[in-house]
C-alpha cells in the first residue's frame, strides 16, 4: 500500500502540515480511506494511526468504506427539503435497501445526502453520478434507480 501511495507522498516530503491534503489525494486515488491507507499515511508523517484516523474522521469529506459504482446524492438543502426532499431520500433508501451514507452490498450504489446543488428552482433534486435529476417525485425516484439497477 505504501508503495502504491508513494507517488502522492513524494510531493509532500517534509511538509508536516499536509496531512489533510494527502488524505484527500489518497481518497481521490482509492475512492476511500482504507485501513492500510491510513497506516501508510501515518508511517509517512511519522504519526500514530489513531491520530490520522482522528483527523480524517473529523471531516465529513472522508470515507472509510469503499463507495459504490454509482453515487446517488439526494439534496436536503432548504429548497429541496421544503419540497419533500426527505421523502425523496426515504424512497431512495427503501429502493436501494441502504441508509443514507451507506453502500449496497454489491458495491453498486452509495447513497449520500448533500445540501444544495445550486439549482433550487428545480427542487427537489437528486444526482446519480454526474446526472442531475430534477423536480423529483417518488415514482421518478423508483424509475431512475431501477434504470441503474437494470444495467449490466
Amino acid at each position: 500500500m505504501y508503495k502504491q501511495l508513494a507517488e502522492i507522498f513524494k510531493q509532500y516530503e517534509g511538509e508536516k502540515g499536509a496531512v489533510i491534503t494527502v488524505l484527500q489525494k489518497v481518497q481521490e486515488k482509492l475512492g476511500y480511506l482504507s485501513k492500510e491507507a491510513i497506516s501508510g499515511v501515518a508511517k509517512f508523517f511519522r504519526m500514530s494511526e489513531s491520530e490520522i484516523f482522528g483527523i480524517a474522521s473529523f471531516y465529513a469529506q472522508f470515507r472509510f468504506t469503499p463507495r459504490g459504482k454509482h453515487a446517488v446524492k439526494v439534496c436536503l438543502g432548504t429548497a429541496c427539503y421544503v419540497r419533500g426532499g426527505e421523502e425523496i431520500m426515504k424512497t431512495a433508501e427503501k429502493n436501494l435497501g441502504i441508509d443514507r451514507g451507506g453502500t449496497t452490498e454489491d458495491y453498486k450504489f452509495s447513497l449520500e445526502r448533500v445540501a444544495c446543488f445550486g439549482c433550487c428552482a428545480l427542487a427537489p433534486v437528486m444526482l446519480v453520478d454526474k446526472n442531475v435529476h430534477t423536480k423529483m417525485n417518488l415514482s421518478k425516484v423508483r424509475e431512475v434507480i431501477k434504470r441503474y439497477q437494470g444495467e449490466k
Partner: protein, 939 residues
C-alpha cells in the same frame, strides 16, 4: 519569578507557571478533570475556571500563565454556578451507574457530583450509544462513561510515546478510540487506566474483586525488572486484587504491563504449598538427553490451529516422560520438619564425605537483600564453601568484571531521575523499552526535552523510532564499533585531556591501539556506514551530559568483558563520568540482581565486594560470623553446572532460580543436574529445575514478605508483606534460618530488619540505611552514615580505586559464527510481555493471551529464500539441539540474523545457545550462535 495574588494570598512562582500551579502552591483546591501535572495542559473540562481581574470572562487556570500582579479569585457564586452547569452537562450523557461501577469511591467525577450535589439533571437527553467490543485482556473500556478529558490520549502519546488512541469524529459523536475503532493492540501499560478520572477505563482483571471497602493498600516494589518501580498492592481478604502506583514515587506512578497487570501469579493455583520429597527414582534419562517440546500442557494452549495438540510433534525429539508426569507422581508431600531434617542430613553427609566444596548454591535475584545475605552466609558459614552465585553471572558478570576493575565499582553510575537531563543518550545492546520499560519512558522524556538518542543495536528495537542515529551493527562486533568511534574522537580531539591527566592512566598506549580502527575499518567489520560512525563520535564527543546505557547485548558475549572495557574507555577518554546525568549505566535485568550481588552471593566476594581471599577481610567476617571461613574463591554459576556435569559437585541448593531454562544449552544443564547426588530447589512454582530436585521447598513470593530490594540504580527500597503465603509456603529467610539451626549454627533474628542491619555492619556503604529512613523513599548506596543523603551519582571527585586505567581492547569475532552448515546467526533475549523463564508471567492468562507462544524473528528476505511464511513452523537447530518454532517475519533483525525470546519452555531458545564462556567473567555467549532453519512441511 512572578508574584500574584490568589484569593487574597500572595504567592511567588516560577515564570511560565500556570495559575493552577500557583494555586496548588497555596494549597487552594481547584476542581479539575482533564489536568495531569505530567501532561501538557488541555483546558478541555473547563472546571478549573477562575476569575482574573481585568479579564472579561473566566479563564481556565490550567492554561492561563501566571503574570506579575495578577489578582485571581478561585471561588465565587458565579464560578460555582458555572462549574455546576459544566458538571451537569457532563453527567447528562453519563450512565450514572455508580452502584456497579468499578471506580465508585475512586472517581473524580463522582466526587464532584457529590460536592456539587447533583441529583437530578436539567439536561437529560440523548445518550451516546457504545457497543463494547474489547477482546483485549487488560483494559476494560466503558466509553459511555468517558468525559473526553483526553488524559488517556495524552499519556499514551506524551509519556508512553505510543499513540494507540486519539479523539475521533466530532461534536456529540466524539469518542476516544484506536484507529478504525479497532480493539486496543498496544503495549498494555495501562497508563491510560491510571489517569482516567472516571470509570471509563479500568482493568479487566480487577473487575468485581472489590472496590474501596475493606481494601488495604500496601506499598512495595515491583518484582520484575531492575527499574525498581514502586507498587501499591490493593489487598482484600488475603488476595491481591489490583496494583497501582503513586505519583510521588521514582516511577512517578507509571508502570509497564508486567508491573500493573502481572500480579496474577501470586494467587495462582499452581503455587507450591507443601514441602516435597522425591519418591520416583531420578531418571538419568536426561542422559539420553534431548530437551524436547515440553512437558505438561503449556499454560494456555497457544492459538493451537486445528486443535490438534500443537506440541506433540513427531520427529523433533520424543517428549521426556519424566518431565511429562505431573509432579504428584514424582514427589510426596511432607511436613516442614521432615523436609528440613532430610535436607540437613543429606547436605551434612555430602559435606562429610566429599568436603564443603562439593556443594554449590545458587541464590536468587528475585529474593530480598536480607534473604540473599542469609543465603550466602549459610553457604559460607554453615556449609563452609564460597560456591555461591546468582544470576548476575548470566547477565552482568562481565559488567562487574569490567567496570569494577576499571572504576572500582560495577554499578550504574547515575540514577533513574537523572536520565531526563542527558543531552546525549547512547544506548548500545539494550532493548530498553521492552526490558526496562520505565527507564525507557525516561529516555523518551529526555528526547522530548531535546536530548539526542543514539541506538546501536542489530535489531530495529522500538527506541529506534525516537533515535537521531541508529547503528545497525552486526551482532558481536561492538568492540570494533566502539573502537572506531573512539578513533574518530581522538582524531577530532574531542578527548578530555584534564580528566585523562588527573584521573586515568595508560592513555597513550591505549591511544596507539585505536589507530587501526578507522571508520572504514569499522564499517568493514560492523556493517555500519562510516559516516554514521563519525556522526556518533561527534555527537557523543561534544556532549555535555551524555549517558551510556547497555545491557545483555554488550555483556552476553564470549568477549563480554572486553565490550564493557571498551565502553569504559569511551567514557574515560571523554571525561564523561562523575557528574550529574553523565556516566555509564548497565541496566540490571531483575528486581534485585544488584542487591543479590551486593549481598555477596558471588563466589569471590563477601557482602560489599570484599574479597574472600584477602586474609584481613576473611578474618573480619570470621569474627562477625563466629566460624572459620574458606579462602578459596568459589565456583561461578556456570562452573557449578559444569562441575556437576563432571561429577565433581555432588549437591546443590538452588533458591529461586531456574537454570534449566535460563542457562545456555538446556540439554547440558539437565544432564548436569541429573548427575547430582542431591538437589534442593526452593521456589514458588514447580519450575523445570524443581522437577529435577530431590527436595522442593515452597517459598513465599515478594508480596508475602518484608525486606528490601536494590534497584538497578543502587536504590534500596522497602518490600512489604501484603498477604499470607499459600498453604505452608514459608519465607526464604525462615527456611534458611531453620536449616542453619539444624546444622547447629545459630541464625536467629527477631525481625528481618536485623539482617539488614547486620549486613550494614559488614558493608559500610549501606551502614547509614535503616528501614526507618527508607520508609517512604529508598536511598541509594553508598550511604555510610545515618545523616548521609545517599549517592545520586558515583565517582564525583574520583574513583574508589584511585586512577582508572584504560584497557587496550582488540576486536575478536564471536566464537560461533554462521557457516555453510549453520548459516543463520541467532540472538536471544526478552520481550515486553513475558519475563525470563516465564515461571511467573506464564501463569497469568491475560499475558498468555497477548503473548501466547514462542517465535523466531526472521528477516523478510531470508524468509523468502527459505520459502516460509508468517506463522509457519520451522525446525531451528544448532550444534547443541533443535526446537520447533513459529515464524514471525519481521524487519527488526538484520538479514541473516534471527531472534528468539527465551521465555518459552516449549521452544526453549537455550536448547540452541552455546555455552562458550567469557574467559574473565564466565558469562555465556547467549547473544551469538549459529543455527540452521528448515521448514517443516505439515502433512
Amino acid at each position: 519569578m512572578v508574584t500574584l495574588k490568589i484569593d487574597g494570598m500572595k504567592v511567588t512562582v516560577r515564570k511560565l507557571s500556570t495559575v493552577l500551579d500557583a494555586a496548588k502552591k497555596l494549597d487552594i483546591p481547584i476542581p479539575t478533570l482533564c489536568h495531569h501535572p505530567e501532561l501538557s495542559p488541555f483546558g478541555g473540562c473547563r472546571l478549573c475556571i477562575v476569575e482574573v481581574q481585568g479579564m472579561a470572562r473566566p479563564a481556565t487556570a490550567c492554561t492561563t500563565i501566571a503574570k506579575e500582579g495578577m489578582i485571581v479569585t478561585t471561588t465565587s457564586p458565579y464560578l460555582e454556578k458555572l462549574r455546576k452547569t459544566i458538571l451537569e452537562l457532563l453527567l447528562s450523557d453519563h450512565p450514572n451507574d455508580c452502584m456497579v461501577c468499578e471506580r465508585a469511591g475512586d472517581c473524580t467525577l463522582q466526587e464532584l457530583a457529590y460536592f456539587y450535589n447533583i441529583r437530578e439533571n436539567r439536561f437529560v437527553g440523548e445518550k451516546r450509544p457504545f457497543i463494547k467490543k474489547d477482546e483485549n485482556p487488560f483494559v476494560e473500556r466503558s466509553m459511555e462513561k468517558c468525559i473526553l478529558c483526553g488524559q488517556c490520549v495524552r499519556v499514551c502519546d506524551e509519556i508512553q510515546g505510543v499513540g494507540a488512541i486519539d479523539f475521533a469524529y466530532k461534536g456529540f459523536n466524539t469518542r476516544v478510540c484506536a484507529s478504525y475503532e479497532k480493539d486496543l493492540n498496544c503495549e498494555f501499560c495501562g497508563q491510560c487506566v491510571a489517569v482516567c478520572p472516571t470509570g471509563a477505563l479500568t482493568g479487566k482483571m480487577w473487575a468485581h474483586k472489590g472496590r474501596q471497602k475493606d481494601i488495604e493498600q500496601v506499598d512495595t516494589v515491583c518484582p520484575y525488572c531492575g527499574c525498581g518501580c514502586n507498587l501499591t498492592l490493593h489487598v482484600r481478604r488475603n488476595e491481591i486484587i489490583r496494583v497501582s502506583s503513586k505519583k510521588d514515587t521514582i516511577n512517578e506512578g507509571w508502570l509497564c504491563m508486567k508491573g500493573r497487570f502481572g500480579y496474577g501469579f501470586i494467587n495462582s493455583d499452581e503455587r507450591l504449598t507443601k514441602p516435597l520429597i522425591r519418591t520416583a527414582p531420578k531418571k538419568h534419562s536426561a542422559d539420553s538427553g534431548q530437551w524436547t517440546n515440553p512437558p505438561n500442557n503449556p499454560p494456555t494452549p497457544p492459538l493451537a490451529k486445528g486443535g490438534e495438540g500443537g506440541f506433540e510433534r513427531g520427529g523433533n525429539g520424543g517428549v521426556d516422560s519424566s518431565l511429562l508426569t505431573p509432579h504428584s507422581s514424582l514427589f510426596r508431600e511432607v511436613s516442614w520438619e521432615e523436609a528440613l531434617n532430610f535436607v540437613a542430613k543429606r547436605l551434612g553427609e555430602i559435606k562429610e564425605r566429599y568436603g564443603a566444596d562439593s556443594i554449590g548454591g545458587l541464590s536468587s535475584a528475585r529474593c530480598t537483600n536480607e534473604e540473599n545475605y542469609l543465603f550466602q552466609k549459610f553457604m559460607r558459614a554453615v556449609i563452609g564453601t564460597n560456591n555461591v552465585d546468582n544470576c548476575v553471572r548470566y547477565c552482568h558478570s562481565s559488567t562487574f568484571a569490567g567496570l569494577a576493575s576499571v572504576f572500582g565499582s560495577g554499578a550504574m553510575t547515575n540514577s533513574v531521575p537523572e536520565i531526563e537531563n542527558h543531552d546525549v543518550i547512547f544506548v548500545i545492546g539494550s532493548n530498553t523499552t521492552e526490558t526496562h520499560p520505565i527507564i525507557g519512558l525516561k529516555m523518551k522524556k529526555a528526547v522530548k526535552n531535546g536530548a539526542e538518542l543514539i541506538i546501536a543495536d542489530p535489531r530495529r528495537i522500538e527506541l529506534v523510532r525516537f533515535a537521531k542515529i541508529w547503528l545497525q551493527h552486526r551482532p558481536g562486533t561492538d568492540v570494533a564499533l566502539l573502537n572506531s568511534i573512539m578513533h574518530v574522537i581522538v582524531k577530532e580531539d574531542l578527548i578530555d585531556k584534564k580528566f585523562i591527566e588527573e584521573r586515568t592512566e595508560g592513555f597513550e598506549s591505549f591511544k596507539q591501539s585505536l589507530a587501526e580502527y578507522t571508520p572504514e575499518e569499522g564499517e568493514r567489520i560492523t556493517g555500519v556506514p562510516k559516516e554514521d560512525i563519525i556522526k556518533v563520535a561527534l555527537l557523543y564527543g561534544n556532549a555535555v551530559r551524555p549517558g551510556i546505557y547497555y545491557t545483555m547485548g554488550i555483556t552476553q558475549h564470549s568477549h563480554g568483558t572486553e565490550n564493557v572495557y571498551a565502553i569504559a574507555n569511551l567514557a574515560l577518554m571523554t571525561g564523561n563520568l562523575g557528574r550529574e546525568s553523565t556516566g555509564v549505566n548497565p541496566l540490571r535485568g531483575q528486581n534485585n540482581v544488584q542487591g543479590a550481588t551486593d549481598m555477596g552471593c558471588i563466589p569471590d566476594f563477601y557482602p560489599g565486594y570484599q574479597k574472600v581471599n584477602i586474609p584481613g577481610i576473611k578474618q573480619k567476617f570470621e569474627m562477625a560470623w563466629g566460624v572459620k571461613l574458606s579462602d578459596k574463591v568459589g565456583l561461578t554459576a556456570t562452573e557449578i553446572i559444569n562441575a556437576a556435569f563432571k561429577g565433581k559437585l555432588k549437591a546443590s541448593y538452588i533458591m529461586g532460580e531456574n537454570p534449566v531454562l535460563s542457562d545456555p544449552d538446556v540439554n547440558h544443564t539437565i544432564k548436569a543436574l541429573g548427575k547430582l547426588d542431591f538437589l534442593v530447589v526452593q521456589d514458588i512454582f514447580m519450575t523445570e529445575t524443581a522437577e529435577l530436585a530431590d527436595v522442593v521447598l515452597p517459598a513465599a513470593c515478594f508480596a508475602e514478605k518484608d525486606g528490601t530490594f536494590t534497584n538497578t540504580a543502587r536504590r534500596i527500597q522497602r518490600v512489604r508483606k501484603a498477604v499470607e503465603p499459600p498453604g505452608e509456603a514459608k519465607e526464604d529467610s525462615w527456611i534458611i534460618m531453620e536449616l542453619a539451626n539444624l546444622f547447629g549454627y545459630k541464625m536467629r533474628y527477631n525481625y528481618i530488619g536485623e539482617v539488614f542491619h547486620e549486613a550494614g555492619k559488614a558493608w559500610p556503604a549501606i551502614a547509614g540505611i535503616t528501614y526507618g529512613r527508607i520508609e517512604k523513599i529508598g536511598l541509594q548506596w553508598p550511604c555510610p552514615t545515618l545523616d548521609h543523603p545517599g549517592t545520586l551519582y558515583l565517582f564525583k571527585g574520583g574513583f574508589p580505586r584511585g586512577k582508572a586505567a584504560f584497557s587496550t581492547i582488540r576486536y575478536r569475532p564471536s566464537e560461533e559464527l554462521p557457516d555453510n552448515e549453520y548459516p543463520f546467526l541467532l540472538s536471544t533475549g526478552r520481550q515486553l510481555f513475558q519475563y525470563h523463564t516465564g515461571s511467573m508471567t506464564r501463569k497469568i492468562d491475560a499475558i498468555n493471551k497477548v503473548s501466547p507462544e514462542a517465535y523466531i524473528e526472521i528477516h523478510p528476505d531470508d524468509a523468502k529464500q527459505l520459502g516460509v511464511n508468517d506463522g509457519d513452523t520451522v525446525k531451528v537447530s544448532s550444534r547443541r539441539g533443535s526446537i520447533d518454532i513459529k515464524v514471525l517475519i519481521s524487519e527488526r533483525p538484520l538479514k541473516g540474523m534471527t531472534f528468539i525470546p527465551f521465555h518459552f519452555k516449549e521452544a526453549a531458545a537455550n536448547v540452541l545457545t552455546s555455552s562458550v564462556l567469557d574467559p574473565i567473567a564466565r558469562i555465556p555467549e547467549l547473544k551469538v550462535c549459529a543455527v540452521k532453519i528448515e521448514p517443516i512441511h505439515q502433512i
